[in-house]
Amino acid sequence: MEHKSSNSAILDVVIENKDISNILKDNKDNDRSSLCSNSTLENSLVQSPSLESFSTLPDTEILSELNVDENSDLCVKVDNPQKHLDTLETYITFRITTRVARIEFSDNEYVVRRRYNEFAWLRQKLVECHPFCIVPPLPGKHTLIGQLDRYSKDFIIVRMKLLNTFMTRIAQHPILSCNEHFKIFITSNQSDFTLHRKHRSHSTNKIIMTNDTVSTRSTIKNRHIEFEKMKDYLIILAEKLISIEKISSRINKERHDFVIELQGFYPIFTNWSVSEPELAIILHNISSAIEKSTYAQSAMISSYSNTVGNPIREFIMYIDVVKDTVHKRETYQHVYETSLEELTKKRTEKDQLLAVQNISSNAGGFSLWKQPSCDEKLEKLGVHIPQLVKKVEMNQDNLECANESLRSDIERWQQEKQKCLKKILLDFVNKQIEFYEKSVSAWEAVASELTVQNISLRSTKK
């Protein structure tokens, strides 16, 4: 299924040329060759002067970390970044490969190219369409890595992996993966897709989320215990993860200084061996063991960002999405409660007016001038109140729906959370084990040399 071109992911630069894009348009949707790097090579190619910012990235290196699950009925993969030079700007696109076995899809495999802001569009649409689904977060515009050059290899790779995680999570989501926008995103060619984006999407949203509604946190009357507990849990979880990241980062920094110290330590043994012919062997062995151990530790230190630092930070972003979604639900609750309050108020008003009416009718014909306004009001209320009742019912329905939807998605998320965190912790621990194994083997080599030389030790029992 893979083209030969996918064996090497050399970043080529494509200059979009009007003629070429016309040619491309004529191709069918599913003509993969028009979208893969191979054909762009044939069509036009101008070497970018900054080609050096990318080097050959073997696809296998990237693939192995993408955790592609071959068995599901919808499987999406993001890889193969490419630089594009437009007349207006330079940007990167990523190749999205989809394998699908669903009726709604006319084909089994799709390959498209998308750029970052198109992913952002997709996410926005998903949030609009499914406000109470937990839509996975996108990597930030200016990332976690901070000062890295936007076109540097490392930045692009990290972004690509995060986009891949994003797409995979959506693909595995029972509701989000059926979303129309998502389908178009992964299947359409460039022109169809652009068309779709421009098309004004009618808001299917029942309640428009504005900034004002968001600030209603403290104003809902009846706190929903279940969701309150969830909020508290999320806060604690995020707190603990941040702590863990801070501690790890601190330890990593200390290890970094430690390694520098060690690099000045092991040569001393070698230097000493120069004046000690009879001790030379053991001194050399010790020096070499320290050197190997130091090298292994160095490797562990440099893997920190990818193994611990960034994964934890990304997951915290995911937690933030859950928090926000739970918070949105409160808005619904607030709207419902407000409408209920209004209804109660109006009913009370009506009751009061009726009571006044009764009194005045019992009292006689004094308040003749009151009666018309009273009747007017009652009439108005007679119309208004049923409207309110309908509104309240609708809001209540919405709230119940939201609650249900959120509840089940949270349950889904809990499982994903467990899997994700378990993986992060295991990766972290495995790196430690890797380091210690190398250290043990380095020192075992020295110890076995000792038995060869039959050197007895002062303290053997311990």
């Binding site: 849990y233 604690i236 979880l237 603990k240 702590s243 863990i244 501690i247 601190r250 330890i251 200390e254 290890r255 200084d257 430690f258 110290e261 060690l262 000045g264 330590f265 001393i268 043994f269 230097n271 000493w272 120069v274 004046s275 000690e276 009879e278 001790l279 053991i282 001194l283 062995n285 010790i286 063991a289 320290i290 151990s293 467990q418 965190l421 378990k422 912790l425 295991l426 621990v429 495995n430 430690q432 084990i433 210690y436 194994e437 250290s439 043990v440 020192w443 075992e444 020295v446 110890a447 000792l450 050197i455 007895s456 030790l457 002062r458 303290s459 053997t460 029992k461 311990k462």
Partner: protein
């Protein structure tokens, strides 16, 4: 440490020395004061126990003697041995002040850990002296081990304090030789490089130890966080809780390892000070050689004077004014010079034989020292490697246990 000193005793009991017949241990320490409560007047004393192990080694005094000695008295003994046997590579004392201390190794000489390590070092010192074929038979040394007060009296009455001071001062002077003995030049060069290598090693090692300590202790912070986290988790709770405990144990495991490493560092320090002892031997040789060269030079100049006197020409004045000694005066002068030359020649012969005697004995002891050094340092270095292996294995084991905890999470 008990096992280590047993091994030391085995390593040392090769020659015919006191150690074949007795055993020495420095078993306890105590804090004493001069009477006032001033902190400066506190000092520590160490208990030296001597036991006669050879039934045939009969002595009027008891089979088991105990004396209390403070560090300064050990210093006095050490200096006495050094100046009395300048051709011997004198075993060194443990450090007077803490060298290359770090967070866990305080600079305070009253710190109980320091006192314990010093106690062990003093025992090693006594064992080394007691195992030396020459040093161990010194009467003064024997008295040091057995007669607490009598030794102090004898030391004072012999005025050793002054003698030692003078002699040690003499060693401090730099010496320029006409033709240095290349054998001792080699020894001096070797001792310089041993000293600089061990200094570097000890300095960096203590920095490395400090970093390792810090890193391990930081892991204790994890323990707390994981424990708190496990409290809010259902399925993950168990695994996280256990992981927290293991991380705590990782933090505390480093203490024992670094304590052991400190003992090995002490063994290296001993050889650092041994380098100094080697240098002293060389300095003494240079001093003797200088004496010889001076004596020879003195004889040569006297001979020159004699030949001049024989020719009657002596002083500048006489040359200026042409005065010439009378025969009588000339003869007197020549006879005097002859006597001086004879004396001088005797001095030269004596000095030469003293130097040659010194050189033979010194080279002999240096050879013994080198052989002992190889044995000792091989053991120390081997122990270091084994300790590192043990520490690494422990770490690996703990992380593997943590991995199991995590894998048990559904």
């Amino acid at each position: 440490m008990a096992e280590s000193s047993t091994k030391l005793r085995t390593n040392l009991a090769n020659e015919d020395s006191l150690l074949r017949h007795i055993d020495i241990s420095v078993s306890e320490s105590e804090k004493r004061t001069n009477g006032t409560l001033n902190l400066r007047d506190y000092y520590t004393v160490y208990l030296i126990e001597m036991k006669v192990t050879d039934p045939e080694f009969y002595d009027k005094l008891a089979n088991l003697t105990t004396v209390w000695r403070r560090y300064t008295e050990f210093e006095q003994l050490h200096n006495y041995l050094q100046i009395t046997y300048p051709y011997i590579v004198t075993p060194p004392l443990p450090e007077k002040r803490v060298m290359y201390g770090w967070q866990k190794v305080s600079n305070d000489t009253f710190d109980p850990d320091f006192i314990d390590r010093r106690r062990a070092g003093l025992e090693t010192f006594l064992l080394r002296v007691a195992s030396h074929s020459v040093l161990s038979w010194d009467k003064h040394f024997m008295q040091f081990l057995r007669q607490e007060d009598a030794w102090r009296e004898a030391y004072k009455s012999n005025g050793y304090l002054q003698v030692v001071e003078n002699k040690l001062k003499g060693l401090g002077v730099a010496v320029r030789l006409r033709k240095s003995d290349h054998r001792f030049q080699d020894i001096k060069n070797y001792s310089n490089s041993l000293q600089s290598n061990l200094n570097n090693l000890l300095k960096v090692r203590s920095r490395v130890a400090e970093r390792q300590y810090t890193i391990h202790k930081l892991h204790a912070n994890y323990g707390r966080v994981f424990s708190e986290w496990s409290a809010v988790e259902k399925e993950m709770g168990d695994g996280l809780q256990k992981m927290g405990h293991y991380l705590d144990s990782l933090a505390s495991s480093i203490d024992a390892a670094l304590e052991d490493e400190e003992l090995l560092a002490d063994q290296l320090k001993e050889y650092l000070f041994f380098a100094g002892a080697l240098q002293n031997v060389c300095k003494h040789q240079e001093m003797l050689q200088l004496q010889l060269e001076d004596a020879e030079g003195s004889v040569a100049s006297k001979n020159l004077e004699k030949s001049k006197a024989q020719q009657g020409k002596l002083s500048l004045m006489s040359r200026l004014f042409g005065a010439v000694d009378t025969d009588e005066v000339r003869e007197l002068k020549v006879n005097l010079l002859d006597q001086q030359i004879q004396d001088g020649a005797e001095t030269v012969t004596n000095t030469r034989s003293e130097l040659s005697d010194f050189c033979t004995k010194a080279l002999n002891d240096v050879e013994r020292f080198q052989a002992q050094k190889v044995l000792d340092l091989q053991e120390t270095l081997a122990a270091y490697a084994v300790l590192q292996l043990k520490t690494a294995k422990k770490g690996l084991q703990t992380w593997m246990q943590i991995r199991e905890c995590l894998q048990s999470i559904p």
